[in-house]
Symmetry: C2
Subunit: 356 residues, 2 copies
């Protein structure tokens, strides 16, 4: 099967399809950009494979494409945004723009947004700050998929944490779910017919599950059993730490925006909340000396002794950056399922797409 497409072609396809789904030009562009960036970086769980979900959410009025985000409260260092059930990516990009503007003036800022929708890859927004030579933080709560330590009910999201740090030579861009793995990873293992790791998921009685199909079934049948927090299912294995990070993300997103946690998202309305922060490194004195210190820390880790058989120790964001460079040169390589999905959308909306 032909699977490769250029960045620009995929971008323009997604943009045109979103425009045919009641998204105005600039909103369609943001959605397309966030999705195609994910694919270009190799984060396929958050790429154009999700395009159909956004279309369905617009059809079902879960996403209101016409809605504009509103600043409902602000100070020189903060803002609270009501997303009015609009497009998650658009709300988030506008929110991070405000955070960046405020951090440039005040040094630090936090912008929270509520009544939003799925925003794609968290790293996209943290990276917006990096591009302005700022530190960026991006958090979101999500649909409830994760169970807490000693619990069996899915009351937490995969609640990712992304932090971007501008460096001299390649930036640090951490973007991680606070669960051991994401639902997208389970779907991927299911397609490949492979067993999950024994710290990824547990069933309704807390029993470890490694069959991906059975785990995916859980999500369709009641609120019990789900993904495990980073660290697994016991305190001894560190699970209470991942659980703590997930709960923290719920507090900083749904809590600070006076909304709800992951457990209450995807009811009648989607009530996703985000948290964006920007920090100007200049508030810590000489910027070059801060950068030099950060570079020194990263270089020490990169140059430290490798495990036998491993050639390299990666800094967070490096793999995705290199994959993106390859995608820009050779085109974006999608998996068969995504190609089929996009081809179907192409037919449905009369928007041409060609793979090579």
């Amino acid at each position: 099967m032909k699977n490769t497409i250029t960045y620009d072609e995929l971008l323009s396809f997604c943009k045109n399809v979103m425009e045919k789904n009641n998204c105005s030009g600039n909103k369609a562009e943001v959605v397309a950009d966030v999705l195609v960036e994910a694919d270009a970086r190799g984060i396929f769980s958050h790429g154009t494979a999700r395009l159909k979900r956004y279309i369905n959410h617009i059809k079902d009025k879960v996403i209101i494409p016409e809605a504009e985000p509103e600043v409902i409260f602000e100070t020189p260092v903060s803002a609270v945004i009501d997303g009015n059930a609009g497009i998650g990516q658009y709300i988030s990009k506008e929110a991070m723009k405000i955070a960046i503007e405020k951090a440039k003036k005040s040094g630090i800022s936090i912008v929270v947004a509520k009544n939003s929708n799925h925003f794609g890859i968290a790293g996209y927004y943290a990276e917006m700050a990096i591009k302005e030579d700022l530190i960026g933080i991006s958090l979101t709560n999500t649909a409830p998929l994760v169970i807490p330590t000693f619990g069996v009910e899915r009351v937490l999201g995969t609640n990712p944490i992304s932090v971007g740090i501008p460096c001299s030579n390649g930036n640090f861009l951490l973007d991680m779910a606070t669960s051991v793995a994401s639902r997208g990873k389970v779907e991927q293992y299911n397609r490949l017919n492979q067993d999950l790791n024994d710290n990824w998921a547990a069933g309704g009685n807390g029993e470890i599950m490694t069959n991906p199909a059975e785990v995916l079934d859980l999500f369709l049948s009641g609120p019990y059993g789900g993904m495990l927090p980073l660290g697994g299912n016991t305190e001894k294995s560190g699970g209470h730490k991942g659980y703590g990070l997930s709960l923290l993300v719920d507090i900083l997103t749904g809590g600070l925006s006076s909304s709800t946690g992951s457990s209450k998202t995807y009811g009648e309305k989607t009530l996703i909340s985000h948290f964006f922060a920007a920090i100007n490194p200049k508030i810590f004195g000489d910027e070059d000396s801060v950068k030099k210190s950060i570079d020194g820390i990263l270089n020490t880790v990169k140059n430290s002794k490798k495990e036998p058989g491993k050639k390299r120790i990666y800094i967070h964001g490096e793999k995705e950056k290199e994959r993106r460079e390859k995608s820009m040169k050779d085109g974006i390589e999608l998996d068969d399922n995504t190609v089929l999905l996009l081809t179907k959308i192409s037919g449905e909306f009369g928007e041409k797409i060609t793979f090579e």
Copy 2:
């Protein structure tokens, strides 16, 4: 063996011993307070069992008890402090006081400190903010004990993250090493002659180690092998996430203070760095409505279905709070080793201590 002592007696013993080790009254008090608070909360790895180490560091001129922390750079939302190799707890308490003051005026603040020493439990400083109705964050780098994903050299610290959130009914106080377990835990398992979990530590070739004595030996014999980051030793088990969090703490502490990472601490000089932040919830609008949202999130998790055989889902900080209440009522119960250690110090410095 008699093992119990009242909070006040233990506090006054520690304070007097520190005073006899060239610490002025207020500095001795801070050290005593942070150590005894750890014991009262049941965090024995960071309690008075460490008193002797601080004394030795003063003797070896690693800690200069007379040194005063200096603000070397500041803005309305930030400060950079040079600890001048002084007492870690004192530097940190002064730094968090400045962060709190600035957050009250400006809404948010970050204070970083360098050339400091071990500061005890990270949660102590995050909790200082809670007591002023602020969100508090406290991070520190540490001695290098942790290996990165695909590496075998100890270039990272256990680098804890603590975040405190004021809530209506018991606060959220996360305080976690970014490694699966701390060195103190390995020491504890060694005393109890128990095997470690199989995601705690790896040797110089990346092989999993479960014998606590052998792991402790690693730390005395060259830079290879050590504790594993939260998530364990593979990407599949999520180890790159814990590694990312640890590296992030190094960047935010040693990097932003223009100093070094964990790998360079404990050379000729101790070069520990800290990061403290305070956030005023008022910058997100009506404080009561924020608090109500946070309470709702915590209650949903607490009241969700338990794993068979588990009676309770804990919110982070609850166990320690309840243990502290018990300690205040019934006295602090220390283990035999700590009792012996304190008794020895008692003889050495002519400072009486009695256990019941």
